[in-house]
Symmetry: C2
Subunit: 339 residues, 2 copies
């Protein structure tokens, strides 16, 4: 009894189940695949696979379906990720290249990824903490209010409106503006806190209140607690895919609304730039136990600025989704490098 053939049987079961959404029996398996053995032999293999926990029968006298563990083995032993097609590659390119700004890039990426994979897509905005500051702008609005704008090298923009004490000097603001940019431009967001302190130290004697208020605002915008933003799309795919088990769509949608949870999920992507796959119960998020997540980091020059991925039923096309996620992430990284 060869281990390799048992793996082939598992592969065939996964393939059929993903295609038909129905438990697959030994007979139909040998009919649909060139396994070169009889159904009785396949049955023996199935018995072993079941004993080892890779497949189960929903009920006696039914075919087998893969368990999470079965999908896990299937994914770990994937042979040859099908590269995305030429047409898809071109679609990715033309779709992303015509984006006008970061919001637009992210929106388009989500749309693209969900269209290609026909799953729910998630794209995290480039993380501030791993970006550099491109520019800080201070705009006086009148009514003693000041608009603070912080722009990251990824094109991300954060802004705050600030109430100033009456009678502050415009000169002071423009001085502050110059010094802030001198100190902060091209530095990492993570350094902002220390750098603003240095800038503050340079202002001795002058209107301390204004200086501190402005610098505090810059710091707040740059280290915003809600800094991690995520966009999802393609939820209609979820309803389509799970039309036969309507009960499972609600908890997943609910989990998708909790962006904090999603970010944690995406963040669990391994540090390397390899695609990460989490299957069923491997997601310890409530409501996502029947779902799988395929995700990967993206960024210019292969440093992971943030993550993106897809969510779908465990019975998804892992090979296709892995390929699509990887391709979109690569191209997105390139687009961001160009900005």
């Amino acid at each position: 009894m060869s281990d390799e053939r048992r793996l082939d049987v598992l592969r065939a079961i996964v393939a059929d189940f993903v295609a038909t959404h129905e438990p697959v029996g030994s007979k139909s398996l040998v009919e649909r695949h060139e396994l070169g053995v009889s159904s009785a032999t396949v049955r023996n293999d199935m018995a072993v696979l079941e004993e080892d926990g890779y497949i189960v029968q929903p009920h006696t006298s039914a075919g087998r379906i893969p368990t999470d563990k079965g999908y896990r083995l299937f994914v770990d032993r994937l042979t040859g990720i099908r590269p995305v097609s030429r047409a898809e590659r071109r679609a990715i390119r033309t779709f992303l290249d015509s984006a006008v700004d970061l919001d637009n890039v992210v929106d388009r990426t989500v749309r693209l990824l969900s269209d290609i994979t026909r799953q729910v897509a998630m794209v995290q905005y480039p993380s501030l903490s791993r970006s550099r500051i491109r520019h800080v702008e201070l705009v006086e609005l009148g009514n003693a209010r000041l608009l603070v704008i912080v722009i990251a090298d990824t094109g991300r923009v954060e802004q705050r409106v600030l109430e100033l004490p009456d009678g502050f000097a415009s000169d002071l603001i423009s001085d502050l503006h110059a010094r802030i940019n001198d100190a902060l431009v091209d530095r990492e967001f993570a350094e902002v806190s220390g750098l603003t302190d240095q800038v503050a130290a340079g202002f001795t004697g002058v209107d301390d209140q204004v200086v501190r208020a402005v610098l505090g605002s810059v710091q707040e915008a740059a280290t915003e607690e809600v800094e991690e933003r995520i966009v999802i799309g393609g939820t209609a795919n979820l309803a389509r895919e799970t039309a036969d088990l309507p009960h499972s769509v609600h908890p997943i949608l609910e989990a998708l609304e909790e962006h904090v949870v999603l970010l944690r999920l995406l963040g669990e992507t391994t540090a390397t730039d390899e695609v990460s796959v989490r299957i069923g119960h491997e997601n310890d998020v409530v409501g996502m136990n029947a779902a799988s997540v395929v995700s990967v980091g993206y960024g210019p020059d292969s440093s992971a600025l943030a993550h993106l991925g897809v969510v779908g039923p465990t019975r998804m096309d892992y090979a296709g989704n892995i390929a699509a996620v990887r391709a979109v992430a690569r191209y997105l990284g390139r687009v961001l490098a160009d900005q």
Copy 2:
């Protein structure tokens, strides 16, 4: 046979059906409501209501359910919108007041509206074309690239990156910057096109190429074709509400993904600042024929900057949703005025 009582019967049918999701019969109606007449009388009224197209029976020997026309009459004759509760009012206030910027305000509004109504919520970003320009910023990025930022008085920010011909003069840029702001600040976005032409006319003889490129970019950012943005949330509510008719959730989700379609839907809100209700087939959008939309314009000082609303099954709590949508829109308008 009084018309008024027939309306009462319709009201009772709508109330019961919304509560139970089951066809309602004459007997249970008189049991649950103080109609003061017998079930036979109610049956007579029902026969008339059915003849007039306000209610139907899903099958013979079943109770009645309201038709779109029935809901329409119900809504048109709504007596006394229940004001939102004190607690809800406070929730709205605390939730929106702690928002830090426009994105945050919109996100929170969607979350809030979907939580209160337990429906899918949609919020359109303040429309550029109805806003005024607060400030235009030009930032030299190095590599002969220029970042153009246009800020609206609603806090909305649009940006473009622009490639400049080599060897442009920094002086020119700052001159341009000053003149653009002089010309554009506090003007409406709709006027931008004409105003940039005027600015361009002021630069005779100097590097025309740069001037035209920058002004073109400003104009593009200010009249962006994708200017209308919309955010939706609470889709999990849709799955919960329609758990008994899983077939209907997919087309609605699909329609919700088409933001262009949603914008058209929201845009159909009547010009007045009254809440608009569109029921079932009144939405001529594919897939939304089983859904109702409750929407209203919002903005500071009761001018409609944009729209927001909720989407749900036709069997929704119209009175409650109308009240919630109105309350959220009013408060959102106030928040934007404060910015």
